[in-house]
Symmetry: C2
Subunit: 262 residues, 2 copies
């Protein structure tokens, strides 16, 4: 039996970063004595854990901008480790009670489950599928601005898949609801976990049947069609771009480069 174990150091839900800009690993002694521990897996022959934040110590469910910016500096491996760990401990911190009967639950199966000792219900971490899509018409792309986004930033439209929908139906509904545009020929391109708090981003491409916009201003600050030249210039970091592209860590950035290269 090998008892070597490491603890992913976090402050609430934010990662501690070392001098080299990478994640910091401590020992299990670094966790509070009564902390719930989640087993992340094995790395370099050692069991890796993360601690569920104490009650009241968890940040809002959605990321503050500081953490988003920090993510851009992590290596892909560190990013995946932190993302999975953050989703899990955040879920535990927000699910200490049984949704079925209201009684307290306890961590089980190494942190991949919570059980209710009162009614016996089992609860599992959430992963919420979200469609994010480039909508194309006549070699132009439809991009939108969320409410409260940084000045000039436009990105791919996105929205949660709702119960009873396929990916392809969710893309068409979301585009119609947010912009009034009818879209079809949906093609899946790539996926990305996005742990704020627990999304699975489903990157797609769709073709629009027209360009007339009826923007839902409760969802979007704006939406606009951008020409291929405008997209290429903005993504190349050119001067005075038509829009500020999404950050490199976001799947929207990958999708835009995929569209340019296609």
């Amino acid at each position: 039996m090998d008892w070597r174990a490491r603890l992913l150091r976090m402050e609430g839900l934010a990662p501690l970063l070392g001098d080299d800009g990478g994640l910091v690993w401590g020992t299990l002694a670094d966790a509070a004595p009564d902390a719930e521990l989640v087993f992340l897996g094995l790395k370099d022959g050692k069991g890796c854990f993360a601690a569920v934040p104490a009650e009241g110590d968890n940040a809002p469910a959605y990321a503050i901008r500081d953490v988003w910016n920090m993510l851009g500096a992590l290596s892909p491996g560190d990013l995946a480790t932190y993302g999975g760990a953050r989703s899990l401990v955040d879920w535990h911190a927000r699910h200490r009670f049984c949704a079925k009967c209201g009684q307290p639950t306890v961590l089980a199966k190494g942190g991949w489950q919570r059980n209710c000792r009162s009614c016996g219900a089992q609860h599992f971490p959430r992963t919420d599928p979200v469609t994010i899509m480039l909508v194309e018409h006549a070699d132009k792309l439809l991009l939108g601005r969320g409410l409260g986004w940084p000045e000039g930033r436009y990105s791919a439209l996105a929205g949660f898949v709702e119960p009873g929908e396929s990916i392809e139906e969710a893309v068409a509904r979301e585009v119609l609801e947010e912009t009034g545009v009818v879209a079809g020929s949906v093609q899946y391109i790539a996926s990305q976990p996005w742990p704020f708090p627990s999304q699975l981003m489903l990157g797609c491409h769709a073709m629009a049947s027209g360009e007339e916009l009826t923007i839902d201003t409760t969802e979007l600050a704006d939406a606009r069609w951008f020409t291929r030249a405008e997209v290429e210039h903005a993504m190349a970091g050119g001067a005075d771009p038509a829009f500020l592209p999404p950050p490199q860590t976001a799947i929207a950035h990958f999708l835009l480069n995929w569209w340019i290269a296609r």
Copy 2:
């Protein structure tokens, strides 16, 4: 203002079916006076609702075989309506309390949300992404048998996407865990909502690097490689097939036909 509204008739979580084999719609008076109602959308100019089952009146989270069989007889439109409605009312029935603080929650936003009046937390219906994959090697397919499945039935391997994973990573991990086979070159084919209780099935194809099997018998009763001829014969309903194919309503059935036709 148009007050015309219809209620989807259900017995617990099972659909009531009419003489024509279709869903049955009643009026809101058919619901219990204190029933929570979920707004499903508009159909033929009328608002459509479903009632959350009374406490203790909901079936197990996973479908009984009777309901699965019943689904095969529904039209695609009825199937989509029932699937979405079932996912939603089942979620409400199993989430009457706040997972964050343990106090009772109330239905909000027409049934697409529950709010906690005590701590203010908002809760949303779950949609759980599940990968389901045809794994190919040398023109053969790897299919598995779940524990307790009908005699002779084999289907595509499947498993939940875990926090921190992409679709492609989930496919590779699940195939490795369940069968010991190393799979890559994952391709997304199609998706399907599967309301038992709230899955989004992500149908994929992957290529294996070899055929040696190490089956996880806690997850699977068996897994085997089937030749193209065996798959074609079984899917065509031929006599004495090598395996019993998955039911027509399942995305695995669609995936097998896609592979044959490709």
